[in-house]
Amino acid sequence: MDWIPNFLLPFFYAVTMIVAVMTIAGYSVLAERKVSGWIQHRVGPNRTALPIVGSIPIIGPFLTKLGIFQPLADGLKFLFKEDIMPGHVRKGYYFAAPIIALVPALTTMVVLPFGQYVDADGVTQPLVLANVDIGILFILAVSSLGVYGIVLAGWSANSKYPFLGGIRSSAQMVSYELAMGLSILPVFMWAAAPGADYGLSLYGVVRSQDGLWLGIWQPISAMIFLIAVFAESNRLPFDMAESETDLVGGFHTEYGSFKFGLFFVAEYAHIVIGSAVFVLLFMGGWNFLPFVASPWPDGVIGAVLSVLWFLFKIFAMIFFFIWVRWTLPRFRYDQVMRLGWNILLPLAVGNLIFNALLIAIHDRL
Amino acid sequence: MSADAKAETITINVDGVDREVPKGANLIDAIEQLGEEIPHYCYHPKLSVVGNCRMCLVELGMPMRDRATGEPVLDDDGVQKIGWMPKPGIACSTTVAPGMHIKTKSQVVKDCRNGVMEFLLLNHPLDCPICDQAGECRLQEFATDYGRGYSRYTEAKNVKPKRTRIGPRIMLDDERCILCSRCIRFSKEIANDDVLGFIDRGSYSTLTTYPGKQLENNYSLNTVDICPVGALTSTDFRFKMRVWFLKAVPSICTESSVGANTEVWSREGKIYRITPRRNDAVNDTWMTDSGRALYKQVEADNRLRAYQVDGKASSFDAAIAAAIAQMKQGKTAVVASARASLEEQFLLSQMVEATAAVRVDMVSHYGDGDHLLLSEDRTPNLRGALLTGLINDLPDARLDGLGKAIDAGEVDTLFVVHEDLAAAGLTDAQIAKVKVIYAGIEENSSSANAKVSFPLLTVFEKEGSFVNQNFRVQKFHNAIPAPRGVVYDLHLLETLRAHMVGESPTRPTVPAVWELMAQKITCLHGLDFRGLGDLGVGVDAGRFASLPFVESKNLKHDPEKRSKLGVEAGATA
């Protein structure tokens, strides 16, 4: 009877993971609203209160003021709003689109390591659902599927603004996927150096950043990757697909209630995943600080601390995402294309060649 | 008249400018004709001069002459010197004289007015916010021109009774009274009812009636009009509406054949009061109290408000169809009205032609005249019916002739305008024998038994003209909108006429009807509606001048003179 560890346990882990990512995504929305409020000298959501929790003397009002309960209310609202479907949409694709948008975002987390556990034998093991060697390839492959959701949504809506949004989104996705892929090659060229046994495993990348973080060692790669993540997750200043000023709402113009909510969550899940990957690749994962040995003790406590540290970094990245959003204006479409093809792609190729040469020279020495 | 006036002018010098004024005129009137005003309270052009308000003080002077030789006294430049009177004099009791010099804007004059205003305002309660006169108050107007803006009087003001009923229609506020005595003079000189007077003296002076008497003659409300302040107010209009909201439309009083010129004051389709409009050829500046109450017929309970067929409300088109069907059966008689306007009578005469009516009758409404502004004929337009050819002789008070015709079976259908058949002497049996088509303002015995009833409009809801006792054509204007759904009387008559002859009806306007009338009626040749002006035009009575009209001598009517004038009447229009 080994179906419990073989089947039920992974399932439990997966559900936990989904809940965690979804929760973080939900609270990213809150963070977005709150931070935008602060940046614009407003207060942001501060009214929603739970019946009992909200009335606990000091804590209740404080949480309410922070808007902690707001995502709950938003989620409920999305759930219970009337589900309006325009008459002119292509129904099957219209329903499939939000699911297709969300599923890849959630799937990528399977290969995301989020901490380490040193067991009683002193063996360090990654905390991950599936520690596959081709982790980064998996992520690149699956996450770029998310664009199908957007394209389908744009097309199935059968009206011009969503359609334009979908087209733009796919073009953008194609443009930046290249630069993104090329930008992380040097990372792996260094991390998966001959002798290291972990190939394209993300865990391996983190392990390799024990001392020096790759973000410092490979700043150009980090920058290109960061920009590409912005573009891939359709964040400002790259939200061509839904730019309100010229496309009304882009691909989700015709969506409402829970289906819109799915898109919404998918977008923020992308941010979470993107932040996590960036942290893993360039910010040392759960490693404490550059050149400082991680002080995590062995055992469960060390594992929890490493996870928390990793989460902290993710949150910092999410904050950065939001911060950028409320600072930079949206690019024009042609600017987005030029940046992707004319600048980032050559830069990434150049960076790759430069690093290859560097490694070649390094190996000769 | 105007030609005469032009011949008799003299030159006076007003504020350094030589101006032509009518000879023998009062100085205030003369200046008014020049388009300027000398402020005054007690003076009234139609009343005697008392000169007790002192507001009209002006500087007066005559060219100097040497007393001994009678030679003009010249100054160094060889211009005749002006002998200014040492003190200002009141303009109201000064008659213009050739060469007279007056100053109306000098500092002295202004000081005089300032002083007079200060005294008048000493004990004035300053209750303009609750005063009905506010907005048309001479005291307010001159206080803005010559008032000081604040009072130097620190003592307590005089207190007098605020609401004394000095007549059934008049309320006196003693505190506001400036003792100009216009009302007293009016009662005595115009109304011949000398009941008002000032009792006590000094600051106790009070306007009052003799104990046990009231100002209750039929002209009492004119005292309210001429009161320059808010001392006398009409109980009917009191506190109802501020005058600045009211729109004044020139109209004609329908009470009697005098045809007093009036102004109808309304706001948003509701009439609040009627006041006289000055017309020296008709009513001077007066009118009767009873005439002022006529606006109440607009909202009277017995007003006919809807088109009816067989006593049931119906649409205009259905009522027209029913009436036409009835009249086409033939043997239609028409009872016309002297209360309809000239244009309506004309269109009715057209309709009479179109229906080939067997006879046209009219009912007279005579009462006692007061030899002033209430004549014996209580209809406004009897002479109009004569001019339009509806009738050829004076009507009787009873429809006996028509009654006989009905009895003889000569009449099947009766088209009645305004008149009450039972009151006009038809028996129930006679009425029952015919089908009645009634058009009128009120519900009465005619409408009660009518096959078809058409609501007509009051004089306030339409425009048109009346011919008064002196064959003077005077027009009235639309003051308030007609009741919902009721068409203009002219439209109704034209529709009936057109359907009778199988034409398609037009919507006749008063000026358009006038064009027709001017062609068809001899004495209206060359006239048009606009040309009547606000004061009306006298027309040639022609062969009707010798008819034995019932009007006796009154304010502007002299039957003897009238019949003598005959043909000339038109010429002096």
Binding site: W38, Q40, H41, R42 | P129, E155, F239
Partner: protein, 181 residues
């Protein structure tokens, strides 16, 4: 033709062309703003300080004796630019305590759907009976509800001190008779 002066556009430096310094300074600005203290007023709980001459909802006031000050002179109705005021004047019946005032509004309506809060009614009122006070938030479920009737107007207006006591003086004078004997 006015002379046009062509300004030469300077070429961007390399650092400027990367935009990175600009982005960094932008981020600095937004972060600086974020850390500044907030000025937002938590409206329904916190109320703004209403200055004395604030022009809120027009109301009718009573004098300290509880007498209605309005004498329905209708000047406000006249001056009201959007014609929001509607007064039916009435007479104070003889024998009442305030019969010396003679006139009071029988009905007084201010249509808050029309009112533009210009304050001309307050300006023009000779009896100091109408005031735009500190109420700034009005709402209702129907048009009828938005027309403030006389009762509502007095309820909103309350009582204000009367500096002149004109009618009190007048009444005293009526009781005591003329001052000079």
């Amino acid at each position: 033709m006015a002379k046009t002066k062509v300004l030469e556009r300077k070429p961007l430096s390399l650092a400027e062309r990367t935009y990175l310094p600009q982005i960094a300074s932008g981020l600095k600005t937004t972060l600086g703003n974020m850390l500044k203290p907030n000025v937002t007023l938590q409206y329904p709980e916190e109320r703004p300080v209403i200055p004395e001459n604030y022009r809120g909802v027009p109301t009718l006031v009573r004098d300290p004796e509880g007498r209605e000050k309005c004498v329905s002179c209708q000047l406000c109705e006249f001056v009201c630019p959007p014609k929001a005021i509607r007064i039916t004047p009435g007479e104070i019946s003889e024998g009442s305590d305030t019969e010396h005032v003679e006139k009071a509004p029988e009905e007084f309506e201010i249509n808050m759907l029309r009112c533009i809060y210009c304050g001309l009614c307050q300006e023009v009122c000779p009896e100091e009976a109408i005031f735009l006070q500190d109420i700034f938030s009005v709402s209702g479920y129907s048009r009828e509800e938005m027309i403030n009737k006389k009762d509502k107007l007095y309820e909103l207006g309350g009582t204000l001190p009367d500096r002149h006591r004109k009618w009190d003086k007048k009444k005293a004078a009526e009781i005591n008779g003329p001052a000079h004997h």
